[in-house]
Symmetry: D2
Subunit: 333 residues, 4 copies
């Protein structure tokens, strides 16, 4: 018997991707998938792509979840802290929600509201020293999807002193699965297909998370909803500090990161190449006209941006190779 | 060292999917990927989703391919027979093209033209007795993508005598990857997005293959190009012979087939649920108004319709479990 | 002052298209747009593509609507009859809903349910003699979207005796706007993009309408939801009666129809070519293998399938050229 | 007889949109549509959405074009200058290409290359004083599609002194029709659907045009190809000069512009709302975290970004109301 795993919020999109990854994971054995509103239903009635998986949703209760070595919480923001607080210390927990990401309670109040829970180890293994911290933690807060895309592009440049932290400008477009599975009018296919629409302009809740993890001190972030089911493409620009080569910095930062790929010069990242994978593709350059550093970053918001990331963190927490059960290769076209 | 495998035509879409599947296959070791026009290029320059795979395209020559235990031919129709004829008998070959599928040379002349090669063992393991034939063959002609979708829906019903073979009507829509990777105006994104367009109406080259494998004697088949990258949805209707339940027939036919899933009553197949998998989803019913049997079939044209099917056949040819390196689960949403 | 027009249900997709068409109509003056749940809101807050139209939604009441020469009812099926019954005889009414389409109350009960209202003049001007009937009517029931697509393909062939009415098989795919604007999970962009999914297989409510208008006696109809906002593509097949040329029959039937275009031989209809127009494109042939007649029909479900059709009917009711304010040309790519 | 008009390059996407607009224009009479490679073909064989238009492509020769009062040149960049030089002075010309847009030959050399033609009156009527210049010109260079989107967002802010010209950052995504109709592998539907891909990062040829028209002195511009047929969404950010309200500046700048719509506060532009129209939708705000001004701009790249813009310019050149034959309303969903 392997490591026993349960998933809370398994009827959502990130939850469904977790179930898919866990079904192919050689060490983790899925013992419970909970979903409040779908309890009692077969998993493949809600996730038809998981037809062949013989599983029924259970109620999301601490007791049901705790009968495991590892719990993934894939709940709406603000709901995981209450559940997490009732899980025994001996159960390792990876939270895919925002509840335990922010250190600063002022930022939590401004962007989320409600009670502010304590910050857990931040679950982005590619940050310096973070892999070891995660490996030693029983509680890990996995990154947000936009946050992962942008932090991987930006953090090394600020850390190496080649990008100024004060005036970072990011425009990032996301696929619709990032907006969740609740039925809302503006997410109808009729509205989204053929459309590009910005939202939460200058007010997205991932701003403090990105600043906390990168050291950026001023960040203009405009998110855009794009007519793709999965994928985030972030264009990150910052003022240069000196003549340093951003590619060289990124190459060094991710030399040993199995899932972050600095592409060969001349090839820019695009989202479709990362679909279904746990990869993040990066490319960097200097804008000829303005002199700004430009880093483009692409990943699958349900993969490296959510479920894949969470499994990578869990692998580290259990001393497994971080690539276990994950793929660098995308599904395309 | 495992079973040594080479792939011809690896720069196309089916070839790319083969590379992806082989990279995760525990028994097959990819030793050569050939692509005439891309020889010398890195694989990930042509297939960016395979970034992380350290591989360079070689020239497509019999000598280069033959240094392997198993060769997959993913070449345009009409090109594989000449290559295959030069491969040693000891090398097992799976052809994803049409060259060795048709027994009747008149049908070949009418739908394809050019020299007609001999028919190989037909590579659809779910047909009665076919699994064993494939296991004993050194040469297998894998099915066409539309053909696989339609045959899996229809063959058991005609074989069981519950569907009349004389007046079968099929309308099937396919994603664009089925049309290949050559740059053609009508396949441009500007033309395809937002569009549904029929083509080769009543004249598609898979008609004789479907008739040969199912015993249908009259087949009206209308293919439609749909704005999705992958996936085929076929609506297959036939006149009933008697009151037999088509679901019961399909359930029995595929009781032991790991990749063909007759869905629970009330759930109809849809393409997105099969993306990236080797599954075919089926549902059947009787039209209330006309009394016709209706079977709807969905699969991934690059999965069970091409590369996945080919790997499944190869597994059988080498005595491996047919599911080795393949997944029943799709990537969604 | 022109002809005064009001629109009930103006916040939906068909209602929005009516507002767009009426804004460009030289004889009809929009005096009221009603929408129960959006009353008091600006029209462009709900229909951002109508920015520039200075209009506010009113409550949907008979009194509000009746202060006009012409009322369009774009309400959910089952809601227009009650409103219509309260409108004065002197006000002309075009109903885009199903309430007044069916003559047979048994069919109404089976496919819709609820009270069965009397049938009005059927609003498809291209049927023989129908243009004159519509011109003389004060109440017209405009066609359903699938129904219009299929009837235009099929009716002349049965009427001319070249197609057998007994075993008609239709598979038709529709864009998502045909499913309306209510927020439902299965219509989310995440679910629909990249997907083709059949629904109401053998049980769609347009079956009796199609049979009533074409004389078909047996009809197998499978609708498919496609990842496009607008457009219907129908593949209609029927057994031939004799050797008559279906193209010749269609050419004669629509010689004087400004919006029905039989394409030149070799060109098949596709949906994108009809987007935003009031056109229906047709092509016909004989399936080589089965001998079945195949007619493919394409139109914009919100254009000739709903709002455009309704305006065309209204033009006739007011003695205007039927093309007034409508375009044959689509918006592409 | 109205004003006689010919269109060169009528088989492309911008050319097709010109034909559509001209077919509905009450004063312009289309007398010739030329297309080198398609000469002799029916227009609707190449543009199926224009079925109903009885027209055949002619050869693109100065003589054929000059038999008109007005010529639209919708040719690839670098091809219109040679043709234009051979048109008589008495014929008015609107060039949709880049050949006559740039004043600075150094910029032409750097971004386009080849012989640099003289700059014509710049065809963006909404710039201060430009409407009158266009009205008095016999030769007008219509704007580029990205350029129009970005200039309309940025020019008033720099002119009013509320945005700094030195560090403007723009990320803009475009639909595929902006990339033209030539068959290229990376524009295949299989590649584009489900994908977001940046290109010409920091090196797009519209950079000098935008700087010339806005006074920006430093511009970082990253274009992204998006899976929509039409539409551009630009996110334009600039450092503020003082506390001035960017909305107030834009409201004043476009108070009399019939096609530029500053949306009510709280509503952000999105591309689908402008499809098929000649509108540009704008919204502006101040980023809370960084203090940057953010203006989002959306239009239809074939409408206000190309053919609609060209017709608007031509209307002015002939003393017609600038809205003649154009619509503010989009086609949605």
């Amino acid at each position: 018997m392997g490591i026993r795993v349960s998933v809370a919020g398994a009827s959502g999109y990130a939850g469904g991707e977790l179930l898919r990854l866990l079904a192919g994971h050689p060490e983790f054995d899925l013992v419970a998938a909970t979903a409040h509103s779908q309890a009692g239903q077969r998993v493949d009635a809600i996730h038809p792509h998981l037809t062949g998986l013989d599983l029924t949703f259970a109620e999301t209760t601490p007791g049901r979840l705790a009968d495991a070595d590892l719990v993934f919480l894939a709940l709406p923001h603000g709901q995981s802290a209450a559940i997490a607080a009732q899980l025994p210390d001996g159960v390792r927990v990876v939270d895919l929600g925002a509840d335990h990401r922010l250190i600063d309670s002022g930022s939590w109040d401004r962007y989320y509201g409600g009670p502010h829970a304590d910050a857990w180890t931040y679950g982005l293994p590619e940050l310096p020293g973070q892999r070891e911290l995660i490996a030693g933690s029983a509680r890990v807060a996995s990154t947000g999807c936009y946050a992962a895309t942008i932090i991987l592009a930006l953090a090394p440049l600020i850390a190496a002193g080649v990008a100024q932290p004060a005036d970072v400008v990011v425009v990032a477009a996301s696929g619709t699965s990032g907006a969740g599975r609740a039925a809302k009018s503006h997410l109808l296919a009729s509205e989204v297909m053929g459309d590009l629409s910005p939202y939460k302009v200058g007010a997205h809740q991932h701003v403090p998370e990105i600043k906390q993890a990168t050291g950026a001190t001023g960040l203009s972030f405009t998110p855009v909803l794009a007519p793709i089911p999965r994928g985030i493409l972030a264009t990150v620009t910052a003022l240069p500090v000196d003549g340093a080569d951003p590619r060289a910095v990124l190459a060094e930062a991710y030399a040993d990161a199995p899932f972050v790929h600095l592409l060969p010069e001349g090839r820019w990242p695009h989202t479709a190449a990362t679909l279904g994978s746990n990869s993040c593709h990066l490319q960097a350059g200097v804008d000829v006209d303005s002199g700004r550093l430009i880093v483009v970053s692409a990943l699958d918001n349900l993969g490296k941006g959510a479920a894949g990331q969470a499994v990578q963190n869990a692998n580290l927490m259990f001393g497994l190779p971080e690539t276990t059960g994950l793929s660098s290769l995308g599904v395309a076209p």
